[in-house]
Amino acid sequence: MRLLVVEDEPDLLRTVAQALREDGYAVDESPDGTDGLFKACTWDYDAIILDLLMPGLSGWDVLQKLRQQKSTPVLILTARDGIGDRVQGLDSGADDYLTKPFHLSELKARLRALIRRSVGQSSSEISIGELLVDTRTKTVTRNGSLIPLTPREYSLLELMAMHRGKVVSRTQIYDHLFDENEDSLSNLVDVHVSNLRRKLGRDFITTRRGQGYILHD
């Protein structure tokens, strides 16, 4: 899962990005609205964390312009907590609202919910055959026994599981697994896929030549 954090307070930006990375997300950072809008429109993020009061292009403007193009889930993060702002934020297209100061745990939970909803999933657990993917604890179990995965592998599995039954291209996987700063080779994806197959079983992920991979139900 790849996220974008748009926040003009550098310390906060750094902290949030780090926290999310430690949670297994690929995180892009944006210190102002203009840069944030550009990135948001360029890539398909799984969720965007957006600060409202920013110099230059404010969060409102970014949201408005973004909604003309994409329906990425947006969580608004701001110090303003007046009821009017909340309502306006949600009506302008945001999917959730969190006021500063906040708990990182709450931020993470809300992000998980947002992402879940955006793929049409209602529970934080995804069961595929014998496998049970718990998005909360970021673990995979087969019949109750834990399967150890690296964070990258888990992210890949989560991504495939969220889009199970649908073909996910290699580019997509790449885009959702690595953030902008990572200059990885694209065949790293194949490596992770094969690792997953090894750990989970051959038949879980199928290759579609020329198209991508698909995780069956």
Binding site: D8, E9, P10, D11, L12, T15, V16, Q18, A19, E22, P31, D32, L53, M54, P55, G56, T78, A79, R80, D81, G82, T99, K100, P101, F102, H103, L104, S105
Partner: protein, 597 residues
């Protein structure tokens, strides 16, 4: 004093209304009253005149001069009255029967009036039956005889108990000439009036009218002729001989009385009742009164309605004004359809609302900004600590976290201080301790504090002060923050190798502290807003440098607390100058404990 405009208006309106109607009504009634009395008087006087004339002319044709056979003091005044003329109906009144033909004055005196013959016995051609009434057929009608009207004269006077019948004409009337001894009052003079009482069959044809009576007194206080009601007390009233020839009119409760002296010492008394007239007048008065009463109600009701109309625009204004609450400060009173007198008031109110709205907007803005500014460093600390604690970390990581927290805490702290200062200056509780202070020292202190920083930034920081003392009335702790703030700003906005100069000068009345730099300058658009709270030209930069946007606002507050002004001049790209102007100490009254206004 009635406080309500509406009630006052209402009462004034109804009072004026009712007063006018009442005055008018009274006028009308008074006129009617006068008319009635005038008419009655005229009638009575005319009757008296007529009788007078008749007396003078006697049975003869000539209306003027005494009749030839009349002698003053003679028989006409001595003889008994042959009959009642035109006294009450023999059968009805107190007069005697047809045969008697005498009125109350019947007595030894004979009829004073005779026919043309004059003498009681021989005045007329024929014998004078003294106590006999002439049968009607004996009487002819001489249309040219004044008073001889009984047959046709009183066709409607059937009820008239008074004599209009031939017997009434008395024995003075001879069949031959048929001329009456005494003139009769023609019916038109009596205006076809019937006697009060209205007995008889003719009563329904005519409305009741007031009666007219008369008595002609002889000089010896006997009645010569009379025409009175049966129950009248007129005969009992002995008239006083009038002094003048003109008729005297008196009013009595019984009605109108006209007393006239007739020829040969007679006294003519005519009395006219006024009962019916007064009754109808009173009815008229009641009608007017009813109308007046109606107008009172109309006045009150109409006044209430009308005053309500007048007052309604005021109420509408109050209503609109009361709708203006904190959440609806954008309401304004509509001027378009408003009455001209209320427009200035509405304008003033609208202006006030405008300023209120503006104030509230600024307050809201300030509160939002302040909360944002405080919450952001809090969020930093919160998330930093949470992250650090989420899993075991390296020592450097913890150190970094702690440093970040410290920075944020400091930032919050300075922000809180700044906010408190501004809050205090807003509510006039700054508690400055003013004392004569040398401005040069304040400037030099501030410069000294920033020398190191200036050096590290490779900026030249100078201080220029005059030789003599520059005395101002100031609290150094507070005023000292001003140059420090300004220098800090200057250092932030000046590139390397630039200069920042702090200068102290004076002119005749004021002291000046000027901080100028060779930095990037400030665009003209920003200058008017520069000293506003939380105003930042470049938000990103000051955020990184830890500025909160309050520095200049605090400077302004402090300077104004010292009775001074602060302004800024700037050329973008070349540099800026911040000028603090303070009154010199000799101008200022030093107070130990001063509150800001």
């Amino acid at each position: 004093m009635i406080k309500s405009i509406r009630t006052r208006l209402q009462w004034w309106y109804s009072t004026i209304y009712v007063l006018s109607i009442s005055v008018f009504g009274c006028l009308v009634y008074w006129r009617a009253d006068r008319d009635v009395h005038e008419r009655a008087t005229l009638q009575a006087v005319a009757t008296a005149q007529y009788l007078d004339v008749g007396l003078r002319s006697g049975p003869g044709q000539r209306p003027f001069g005494p009749p030839p056979n009349w002698m003053p003091g003679g028989p006409p005044f001595g003889g008994p009255m042959p009959g009642q003329f035109p006294g009450p109906m023999p059968g009805q009144q107190n007069g005697p029967g047809p045969g008697a033909g005498q009125g109350p004055d019947a007595g030894p005196n004979g009829p004073p009036f005779r026919g043309p013959g004059g003498e009681p016995n021989g005045r007329n051609e024929g014998p004078v039956p003294e106590r006999r009434q002439r049968p009607p057929e004996e009487l002819g009608e001489r249309p040219d005889d004044i008073g001889n009207r009984q047959a046709d004269g009183r066709p409607q006077d059937g009820q008239r108990p008074s004599g209009q019948n031939p017997p009434v004409n008395g024995p003075g009337q001879m069949p031959g000439n048929g001329r009456p001894l005494l003139p009769q009052v023609p019916p038109e003079l009596l205006n076809q009036r019937t006697m009060a009482g209205n007995e008889g069959g003719r009563g329904f044809d005519r409305p009741p009218v007031d009666r007219l009576e008369y008595i002609i007194w002889r000089p010896d206080r006997t009645i010569l002729a009379q025409y009175v009601e049966a129950d009248s007390d007129l005969p009992n009233v002995q008239p006083v001989n009038p002094m003048t020839m003109a008729p005297e009119v008196t009013r009595s409760p019984n009605g109108l009385q006209v007393v006239k002296s007739g020829p040969f010492g007679t006294t003519i008394v005519v009395r006219r009742q006024m009962d019916h007239d007064m009754a109808s007048l009173h009815r008229f008065g009641m009608q007017i009164g009813a109308i007046a009463a109606g107008t009172v109600i109309l006045g009150v009701v109409g006044g209430r309605w009308m005053s309500g109309q007048m007052v309604r625009p005021i109420q509408q204004i109050s209503q609109t004004a009361s709708q203006v609450t904190v959440t609806h400060l954008d309401r304004r009173i509509e001027l378009q359809n408003l009455d001209t007198e209320l427009v200035p008031l509405a304008r003033v109110l609208n202006d006030t609302f405008q300023r209120l709205e503006h104030s509230f907007q600024r307050l809201n803005q300030f509160t939002a900004d302040a909360s944002h500014e405080l919450r952001t460093p809090l969020a930093v600390i919160q998330s930093q600590v949470e992250l650090a604690l989420s899993q075991p970390r390296s020592a450097e990581s913890y150190q970094q976290t702690l440093e970040t927290c410290q920075r944020s805490a400091e930032r919050m702290s300075s922000l809180v201080d700044g906010l408190l200062l501004l809050a205090r200056s807003d509510s006039e509780r700054m508690n400055l301790r003013l004392a004569p202070t040398d401005l040069r020292l304040i400037a030099e202190d501030a410069v000294a504090q920033f020398q190191d920083k200036a050096l590290s930034l490779q900026i030249e920081l100078d201080c220029v002060t005059p030789e003599t003392e520059v005395r101002v009335s100031a609290d150094p702790t507070f005023l000292g923050q001003v140059p420090m703030n300004l220098i800090q700003n200057a250092l932030q906005h000046t590139p390397e190798k630039g200069t920042v100069t702090v200068q102290v000068t004076t002119d005749r009345d004021s002291a000046y502290l000027i901080v100028s730099d060779s930095g990037c300058g400030i665009a003209a658009d920003h200058l008017p807003l520069l000293f506003d709270r939380f105003y930042r030209i470049d938000k990103a930069r000051s955020r990184r440098d830890g500025g909160s946007g309050l520095g200049l606002a605090i400077c302004r507050s402090l300077v104004e607390a010292h009775d001074g002004t602060i302004t800024c001049e700037s050329t973008p790209g070349a540099g800026s100058r911040f000028i603090v102007k303070l009154p010199l100490a000799s101008q200022v009254v030093v107070q130990a404990d001063r509150r800001i206004s």
